[in-house]
């Protein structure tokens, strides 16, 4: 199967590119990037073709594209690829507003191409095992969830509101919200958020704390803060504590690591050795394209997570909880 990539604006592009190079039966054809120099550099580094024009990449016989642009560009690239008949794997969040998200979903449906949102955390082996345990019923009925998706401050366009749609809240709300919906079959009803720019001299918020009401009388909190200092041993975390009537499960998604102390670096480092979720994500998406089976994470899934992030922004403005229904349209 032949695959192309559109834009290397998002940091995850490199890891998806490695997956494309490593996957048997996959031919990574080439790259288009709105930043011509960046596109050229990556194409050379990865020994693939460089396309100066998007239409030239889309004219080739590639069957699918992976889009790692800024969040605001997701819509126009997805629509262009879908109209050229290519399946789309697009980085999260699906978009920065509902209109774009709807347009992406509708266009892909109309063009009969697959649209998957890149939620790699679903493919993390520890997350899959957590899902298995929850579904086994060992925890009893779920009462509450405490979650974190911390990170370091990514910089660049991630901190520009018009390109990213917001800061730490939109960036780090969607992963865990997706996991909770998928793992527990729950939907989000009402969101309260505290967020602020407290650490970095940037345009957007860098700290966020969401308190959420879910279906089945479940409540949850999620810390989305970009507050890992540069001295921290790793980039961040995904953690969940799930409280059930019959037990408690604590998940630390990236805890399969060892510690490194090296005099040249002057700080402790954590070396993760768990499963490569990005590779598993790309592999699964391409298999769905090849076998014409449903993708695991749909555009609608992406839209549901965007609803929570946008409700959080509205709550932060009002300092009141905001119902998802209210902001939906």
């Amino acid at each position: 199967m032949k695959v192309g990539m559109i834009s290397f604006a998002h940091l995850h592009a490199e890891s998806y590119a490695s997956a494309l190079k490593a996957l048997p039966g996959v031919e990574f054809v080439g790259i288009y990037d709105e930043d011509n120099n960046r596109g050229k550099e990556w194409a050379e580094k990865l020994s693939v073709m460089h396309f100066e024009k998007l239409e030239d990449l889309l004219k080739t016989d590639i069957e699918a594209v992976i889009i790692c642009s800024t969040n605001a560009d997701h819509c126009r690239y997805t629509v262009a690829a879908a109209e050229a008949g290519k399946h789309v794997l697009v980085e999260k969040p699906i978009a920065t507003n509902f209109a774009d998200a709807h347009k992406m979903i509708e266009t892909c449906k109309k063009q009969n191409v697959k649209l998957q949102i890149a939620f790699p955390v679903r493919y993390l082996p520890s997350v899959l095992e957590t899902k298995r345990i929850v579904e086994s019923g060992q925890l009893g009925r779920i009462l509450a969830i405490k979650a974190t998706n911390h990170g370091s401050m990514p910089g660049g366009w991630f901190t520009e509101k018009d390109k990213a749609g917001g800061g730490a809240v939109i960036d780090h709300t969607v992963h865990v919200v997706d996991i909770i919906r998928w793992m527990l079959g729950l939907e989000f009803k009402e969101i309260y958020a505290e967020y602020d720019r407290l650490i970095h001299n940037i345009e957007t918020e860098d700290c966020g704390l969401l308190t959420m009401e879910l279906t089945n009388n479940v409540f949850a909190t999620l810390d989305t803060s970009w507050n890992r200092p540069s001295a921290y041993p790793t980039w961040g975390d995904v953690t969940m504590t799930i409280i059930g009537t019959n037990g408690v499960l604590e998940l630390d998604g990236f805890s399969q690591k060892f510690d490194i102390y090296n005099n040249d670096v002057k700080k402790a480092q954590w070396e993760y050795f768990g499963g490569d979720m990005d590779y598993l994500l790309v592999k699964d998406f391409l298999e769905a394209c090849k076998n014409n089976t449903p993708v695991k994470v749909t555009g609608e899934d992406g839209l549901k997570t965007l609803e929570v992030a946008l409700a959080a922004y509205e709550s932060g403005k009002r300092h009141q909880p905001v119902a998802i229904e209210e902001i939906r349209n």
Binding site: L143, K146, E194, L198, C207, N217, Y232, T241, I243, V248
Partner: protein, 330 residues
């Protein structure tokens, strides 16, 4: 008989027994009398300390007693503290200060009127890890504080006299009884609270599994998250993470155990590992020492009635938010 202040203890449960040990260590105070509705509990403390078992009324009326230590269930604090103050005694009272702000105001007023000292047992301010972290933050290790996360609990609902912890009207549940420790610490660390939003299992399908998550916004700008759990997840533990402009402090009591002891049961069956603590001095002793030294004029007071009152306000705001589903502004 030791020189120094004479102390009468009212309430010989878990906290009363712990305080009694502190007076044994101090050389400027002596526990002379203990009262409890369960005679065996008072007798056990008396046997260990040399104190006399008496009724609470007798202890408060005894002119030779200088200090009353109140370790009764929360909803009874007001009655004993006011009676002790009216009798001219200094009072040390377990946390939370009271079950309502009105009760706490009456306690403060009674102590002010009598000209006696009131101390509240927010002992977390005397735990070495919390003091160290406070000092590190104030020496600038993390820069200006941005987000703080605190955890407390991980054990099943405590059982005590008449199961009073389970009675919301008596104890206020874990938000008022337990994570008020974290609210008090956070206020000490970050200053006044602006807004509280909270959710908990109480009022849903509680069934003795109490769990609460609290979101706080401070006037300094900082955001905090407090988790309180009376759901068993392997036993009592505490955590805090303090992230700021240039650094982060991370503490987990489960990773700071100097000793892990595993003793096989009879017949070679594997036992349950139990962490043992190793303090140079119990923080409960340090806390009582501070109050006694305040009365002796040797130290400044760490947690007085006003501090206890402000922390009570935050806990009651969290309970109100859980009940109404709305944020509460302070």
């Amino acid at each position: 008989m030791k020189p120094g202040l004479k102390v009468g203890l009212i309430g010989g449960g878990t906290m009363g027994s712990t305080h009694a040990e502190a007076y044994r260590v101090l050389d400027n105070a002596e526990l002379v009398a203990v009262a409890d509705l369960v005679p065996e509990r008072a007798q056990a403390i008396a046997a260990r300390t040399g104190a006399t078992v008496r009724s609470a009324t007798e202890i408060i009326a005894d002119p030779s007693i200088d200090v009353i230590d109140v370790c009764v269930p929360t909803y009874l604090h007001r009655d004993f503290v006011v009676a002790a103050a009216d009798a001219g005694k200094h009072v040390f009272c377990e946390k939370p200060m009271a079950r309502s702000l009105k009760e706490a105001e009456e306690m403060k007023a009674a102590c002010d009127k009598a000209g006696v000292r009131l101390g509240i047992g927010h002992v977390v301010r005397f735990f070495p890890e919390y003091i160290r972290a406070y000092n590190k933050v104030h020496s600038g290790v993390v820069g200006k504080v941005a987000v703080v996360r605190c955890t407390r609990g991980g054990f099943a609902l405590p059982t005590a006299w008449k199961d009073w912890y389970a009675n919301y009207e008596y104890s206020g549940g874990l938000v008022l009884d337990m994570i008020i420790h974290d609210f008090d610490y956070l206020r000490w660390l970050l200053g006044p609270v602006e807004r509280v939003f909270a959710k908990g299992t109480r009022g849903r399908d509680y069934n003795r599994l109490e769990y609460a998550l609290v979101s706080l916004k401070f006037k300094s700008g900082a955001i905090a998250h407090v988790e309180g759990s009376w759901v068993n997840s392997g036993g009592f533990h505490t955590r805090f993470e303090i992230a700021g402009e240039k650094g982060l402090i991370d503490y987990d009591s489960r990773k700071a155990n100097p000793i892990t002891l595993t003793v096989n049961k009879a017949g070679g069956a594997p036992g349950v590992p139990v962490p043992a603590s190793a303090w140079a001095e119990s923080p409960y002793t340090t806390e009582i020492r501070n109050f006694i030294n305040v009365l002796d004029g040797k130290e400044g007071q760490i947690v007085d009635g006003n501090e206890g009152y402000e922390s009570l306000k935050v806990a009651l705001a969290a309970l109100e938010s859980i009940e109404t589903g709305k944020p509460v502004n302070l």
